[in-house]
């Protein structure tokens, strides 16, 4: 009778092996503290004029943060904690520009967004360098990227709060024309 189970066991092992081959899922990794290399290439963040500015070299940390649902979700929490909502209103825009559309005055790559948060921008965007830790800024940038539809949301739907804007999954941000580039339309208020 044990022979009757053999096919079952074989099928089971096969499935497990196949699944293991799929490999680890970066997206679900949760490393606390230093998940990214401490020192990456220094981010050049001096472009104070609207527009993509100088090409910012890609930073390996960007990808790590962007790909992790846990970091994106933490970024969302910080977005509220640091009252980014106050100006950007859940990404919908208000005093500050909207983050769910395809307008990126200072570039939409994660390195550029990191730079924007860290250094601040004219007309109201404060600098968070020193105020927030490096990791927090990366998380914020990763979250902003997910708001913009460049990367998946941490979870696809809503937050546990009053719905002030359409749920994120209902807003389909137009696909940005070119990764890292920005379509500069309109002027700063």
């Amino acid at each position: 009778m044990s022979s009757r189970f053999r096919p079952a066991v074989r099928a089971l092992l096969g499935l497990v092996a196949a699944a293991a081959l799929v490999g680890a899922c970066d997206r679900e990794l949760r490393d606390f503290g230093s998940s990214a290399p401490e020192a990456g290439p220094t981010i050049q963040t001096t472009s104070l004029t609207p527009g993509p500015g100088g090409q910012v070299p890609p930073d390996p940390r960007g990808e790590i943060y962007e790909k992790s649902a846990a970091h994106v979700s933490e970024g969302g929490r910080l977005f509220r904690w640091y009252n980014c909502n106050g100006c950007h209103s859940n990404g919908g825009g208000g005093m500050g520009p909207a983050l769910i559309d395809d307008e990126w005055r200072y570039g939409s790559s994660i390195e550029q967004i990191y730079g924007t948060i860290a250094e601040g921008r004219p007309n109201g965007m404060p600098s968070f360098r020193g105020k927030a830790t490096d990791e927090q800024i990366w998380e914020l940038a990763a979250y902003v990227r997910s708001l913009g539809g460049f990367t998946p949301q941490a979870s696809s739907s809503r937050n546990d709060e009053i719905r002030s804007t359409p749920p994120r999954n209902q807003v389909t941000p137009p696909k940005p024309s070119a990764e890292g580039g920005a379509s500069v339309q309109g002027t700063a208020p």
């Binding site: 739907s157 809503r158 719905r163 359409p166 749920p167 209902q170």
Partner: protein, 201 residues
Amino acid sequence: MKTRIVGDVSALPDHEFGLKSIVWWGLLGFMAIESMGFVLAIGAYLYIRGINDSWPFPPDQSPALLPGIVTTILLLASEVLNRWTARRAKAYDERGVKLGVTGMIAAGVIIIIARFFELPNLHTRWDVNAYGSVTWLLMFLHTLHIITDWADTGVMGGWLFTHKMEPTQFSEVYDNCGYWTFVVVSWLPIWALVYLAPRFM
């Protein structure tokens, strides 16, 4: 173990209707599961209604009555045809059964179309708030039942016309009619909740 033969069952029929058929009991089991699903969804509706002061919210957007009434009438009308088909099946009337099932497929199409006029007239969306969510939950559950039973009837219609009818098939048609009755009957409390509760509760 030694045995002693005390009887013979070979004279028994090879199919039965309703209560006497296994398939009917299986369907009854699944209907019990689905009824439980409906009851719990209705419970969730009343619960969410209970913890909120106003209903619906925003308060001036009750669902439009007319599309709901149309579907209800259509469903009730289809039930007349459905019962007729069941009686034809029990009478082993092949022509009547074929006619009835064809009619039911057509009725299903009309009802599904009517249902898709209902949805925009609910005046809410599932992601707006808990009222919208739970309203859409009820509508979704019931629409799912209409569609699956309609597909079921469709497949049955397919083999009714391609395969030879044997006595057991009449019993299967009969069981399927019972399921449609369940779909119709379960609509009535849902209709009352979705359309009347926002107005009167």
